[in-house]
């Protein structure tokens, strides 16, 4: 009970600070996933088309995923120095696997007969991609972005070790303070909350964009 009371006092006294760190934390995660989406979705489409490339690309991003987060950050720090950009690059790299893999699976999963129908109607390859393949695989791609964002929010907490701030700084401060249990919770709860919220919102988008719904919308 004591710890709950401490937690409430902490929130009421440091509200503004927590909010800035929360915002910062979210922005770092979102930028990482955004850039990974900008790079990953075209790459996914590309390897779905040229299937010879796919094992190479997929095993490459798989290898990235196996590097421990702290090690990746440390290596990137040597090259890029301290700060938010290094964290964003790390999150970018971690987000590539779910995004590329889901795009690849989504595009391959589109019914061949539909593509052939498009072809028969005289559509160009780009038109088939834009009007058939992408709309039908959009919800799978969104699922990739959703996974990536949730992972990114988790990993962004260790960004504090290279001076990027974020909710991780609150957690680390709690581990350094004597009897800092309440401070650790004060940092961990918003992080978990953000991940759950991101999962929920992205899940909502995913359902909205699924082929069954898009027919209703149009």
């Amino acid at each position: 009970m004591d710890i709950l009371k401490e937690l409430m006092t902490y929130y009421s006294e440091n509200g503004a600070y927590i909010w800035t760190e929360f915002y910062r934390h979210f922005l770092m995660s979102a930028y990482g996933v955004l850039f990974a989406g900008i790079v990953g979705i075209p790459v996914g489409i590309l390897i779905a088309r040229y299937s010879k490339l796919s094992p190479w690309v997929i095993s490459f991003v798989n290898v990235i995923q196996t590097v421990p987060a702290l090690a990746l950050l440390a290596v990137l720090m040597l090259v890029m120095g301290l700060g938010t950009n290094t964290v964003i690059l790390a999150l970018f790299l971690y987000s590539l696997l779910p995004i590329i893999k889901n795009t690849y699976t989504g595009i391959l999963g589109v019914d061949k007969t539909l593509k052939e129908a498009g072809n028969a109607m005289g559509m160009t390859r780009f038109q088939i991609l834009r009007m058939v393949e992408l709309p039908l695989s959009l919800s799978v791609i969104m699922a990739g972005l959703r996974t990536a964002l949730v992972i990114a929010i988790g990993i962004a907490t260790i960004g504090t070790f290279i001076g990027a701030g974020g909710l991780g700084s609150i957690i680390v401060r709690g581990t350094n303070a004597a009897e800092g249990g309440a401070i650790i919770l004060a940092g961990a709860i918003p992080t978990a909350l953000m991940a759950v919220m991101a999962d929920f919102v992205m899940g909502w988008f995913e359902r909205l964009l699924s082929p069954a719904n898009s027919r209703k919308l149009s």
């Binding site: 600070y17 075209p42 700060g83 001076g163 701030g165 700084s169 004597a178 800092g180 401070i183």
Partner: protein, 305 residues
């Protein structure tokens, strides 16, 4: 068309990452952002935020905290690389042995003089005069024991030390030049028994009566929390760890007003003040940023002097 937009975006992103510019929402452009480095301790964080708010109060510049750096060596490296412009607090003893690879010096003024000279020469950085506090080893006893045995200085322990249990930091006992053996040689007495432990435990061990004297850190908030007395190191056995801000000459030349701001802070924080600020952060569990803001508002951002 879409591909081209994507290409442009990818290009922009690479440019952002490589140029070291900040993305929207994560701090302003690098030219007008002053980066202040802090390590994990509350006192450097509070001082860092005080600097940040001072800079934002007196100038139009934006200041950003690069926090939770692993050690003062990491901070030093970050300053040399240009990732950090100002160190919130650096300690003479730490930098003598760490960044400069020199031997510790027992005279505080001499130590200060060396770091100021060497940092100017070797790293083109300005080491300011001390804030007014030092975070060094200090011998501490319970207030009632100090009153009863009439203890004020470390030498006063000589007559009673053979009855005292002495709790110390694990890493101190065998430290070369300033360890327990040298302590015995310098002060000429031994404690009854010596108990090495984690530094964080010595305060409660002393408070609960399990120890009669401990070797503590001189700015730890628990000295205030448990109302412990500290004894003057009358033979200057422990090396000085006076704290000062450090800034790169580059940032000072570019923004001379920062020099004035840091000068304003010199000499304004004695040990008592720092313990009070640490107390608010560590024991009352308030964020250093909140503590710093309140302190500055209370002191009117040092505008009067």
């Amino acid at each position: 068309m879409k591909k081209r937009i994507k290409l442009v975006l990818v290009g922009m992103m690479t440019a952002f990452l490589l140029s070291g510019c900040s993305l929207p929402g994560l701090g302003g452009g690098s030219a007008n952002t002053i980066k202040i480095g802090t390590v994990t301790t509350s006192e450097t964080q509070t001082l860092g935020y005080i600097q940040k708010y001072m800079i934002e109060h007196y100038t139009d510049l934006h200041a950003e905290i690069v926090g939770n750096l692993g050690s003062s060596i990491v901070m030093h490296q970050a300053m040399v690389n240009g990732d950090v412009d100002i160190s919130a607090a650096r300690y003479t003893g730490t930098d003598l042995s760490g960044a400069l690879h020199m031997d510790l010096v027992n005279d505080p003024d001499e130590a200060m003089e060396i770091v100021q000279r060497e940092f100017e020469e070797q790293f083109d950085q300005k080491w300011y005069d001390t804030y007014g506090f030092d975070n060094t080893y200090v011998l501490s006893v319970r207030q009632d024991v100090a009153d009863k045995d009439g203890l004020e200085k470390v030498s006063d322990l000589e007559s009673v030390a053979d009855k005292y249990q002495f709790g110390v930091d694990n890493s101190w006992i065998n430290r070369e030049g300033i360890g327990y053996d040298e302590f015995i040689k310098e002060y000429g007495f031994e404690f009854n028994k010596i108990y090495p432990m984690q530094i964080g435990l010595v305060y409660s061990a002393l408070n609960s009566g399990k120890m009669d004297a401990v070797l503590a850190y001189s700015t730890d908030a628990r000295l205030k929390q448990f109302n412990l007395a500290t004894l003057e190191d009358d033979k200057h056995f422990f090396p000085p760890y006076d704290a000062s801000p450090v800034a790169t000459n580059e940032v000072l030349q570019e923004h001379p007003e920062i020099d004035e701001i840091l000068q304003k802070m010199v000499g304004k924080f004695d040990n008592e003040t720092i313990i009070e600020l640490n107390y608010q952060a560590d024991i009352e569990k308030r964020e250093p940023s909140t503590v710093a803001r309140e302190y500055l508002e209370e002191h009117n951002y040092f505008e009067d002097n």
